[in-house]
Symmetry: C2
Subunit: 283 residues, 2 copies
């Protein structure tokens, strides 16, 4: 997906937010704002939003000398999600359609995103996504794909959301490889975050060799790219994975919350909509 | 009020929004984004948000050759508000405390602001502001000030909001001079918008000689400044009037919705809070 002009102010906001979370004093926050505007000016049109976000957040980490500004936010999100785990498992177990319930829970968990917005309301989102119709619902195709008991490559998004992913993985009844980032970027899940969520008990965990948001294939490791090429089924969580893979021909199902007007517009749905979308594969 | 760093991404978003409303093609929207970043970079720290907004919106109007990008939005807002007028008048007439009801209605109308956000939900805001406690409520002082039947200088904010102001003016029972902008800026009310709302039937209308948002006294006409200096009581509507007058010693009551985290933080209240705040006058 291309970067829309609306992404520019959003990325400027993100740089400021990351600088603050990294503990930068106000004078440094200001110089980071100015430098981010220079970066935005220099970026070629046609880049994807994760490409811009990657560079901008990397620069903030360098300038603030803080390799993981979102560490505390990530730990809190995981603890918050783990506290909800028993209740959500019960919902799945008692549901007339456990798979659909687990999908909805995994999508609701995608609200835990500190890139798209400054904060989130997890309880309200859960309530909304568990009770409303999905804005895009390719569950019939998803069931058909799952019926073949495929090997699933599950591209993670954020820490905390990992707990909600675990619930879906436990419901899939097929082998899953869970892919995290190789290093910190925004509040995206790394190995440490996935283990804290207990993913190691239900899936094999690998990293994609990159610390860009989403999945920028040209920056991922060869090992990951092999996994990606051979996967029977890819579950790609979150906006950044959609933004980076929306034009890649692969057996992908995107699960996400449309958390901004840009992605909602791109998908043709209302902002806040919950999405289970099958990738169109060109022949 | 100083410009916070959070205002930079917001002003960049505003420039893009104004360019689109002015009908700029995408290539021009992009060049306006780049130029706005240059303007933001060059602006001296310590400026108020309305000073920055004034320059940025002025430049968008020049570049797009559109002197009033928000004209259609303003007309629609006035029509929407006029349709609500009879029902809101009834609420005031039936209220146990008509003045308080009219104040709440005038504050709710401040949600009609296309600077602070891209859109607004007038019905939800009315419901909220008419039923919840005000976040800052200096109504006791306001009643005392009104009891002297002062001449009121009423600094307008947005078109459409004007209709809600009219309801308050009709309830005040004291002579009111209603101050609009001398030319278009965002969706702020001009003479034309005030007349469309019927303000000419209930108050004398003047302009402040400026087309900056809020009230930048050094850019206002001498006539207006005389009015301001002689007013027994000033009612200042909206964020931009607060941002530009918060450090001016004058008998002001600010009526506004705190529509962003910056002003909510400055006022020490939650975002979305409704405010009737008396200016502290230094001796």
């Amino acid at each position: 997906m291309k970067t829309y002009l609306d992404c520019y102010p959003c990325l400027l906001r993100q740089a400021l937010s990351a600088a603050r979370r990294a503990g930068a004093p106000e004078s440094q926050q200001y110089s980071i704002l100015l430098e981010t505007m220079d970066e935005l000016r220099a970026f070629p049109l046609g880049s994807t939003p994760p490409q811009l976000a990657h560079q901008i957040h990397q620069r903030v980490r360098q300038l603030t000398n803080n390799i993981d500004p979102y560490r505390e936010d990530k730990e809190q999100a995981t603890q918050q999600a783990l506290a909800l785990y028993p209740g959500l498992k019960k919902k799945v177990n008692e549901a007339s359609d456990p798979l659909e319930m687990a999908i909805r829970i995994a999508i609701a968990g995608n609200i835990i995103d500190l890139g798209a917005a400054e904060n989130y309301d997890l309880d309200a989102t859960l309530q909304h996504v568990l009770s409303q119709a999905l804005a895009i619902n390719d569950i019939v195709s998803f069931r058909m794909a799952l019926a073949r008991r495929p090997s699933v490559l599950y591209l993670a998004d954020n820490a905390g959301e990992t707990v909600f992913d675990r619930i879906l993985i436990e419901t899939l009844d097929t082998p899953v490889t869970y892919v995290v980032k190789a290093g910190p970027i925004i509040n995206d899940a790394t190995l440490e975050d996935a283990v804290a969520a207990g993913i190691d008990q239900v899936a094999k965990i690998i990293d994609n060799g990159s610390n860009a948001p989403g999945t920028l294939l040209d920056q991922c490791s060869k090992t990951f790219r092999n996994h990606f090429a051979q996967a029977d089924l890819v579950i790609a969580k979150g906006q950044a994975n959609y933004e980076s893979l929306s034009e890649i021909s692969a057996p992908i199902f995107f699960l996400l919350q449309a958390k901004c007007s840009v992605i909602a517009g791109e998908l043709g749905i209302i902002e806040g909509g919950a999405v289970l979308k099958q990738q169109k594969i060109s022949q």
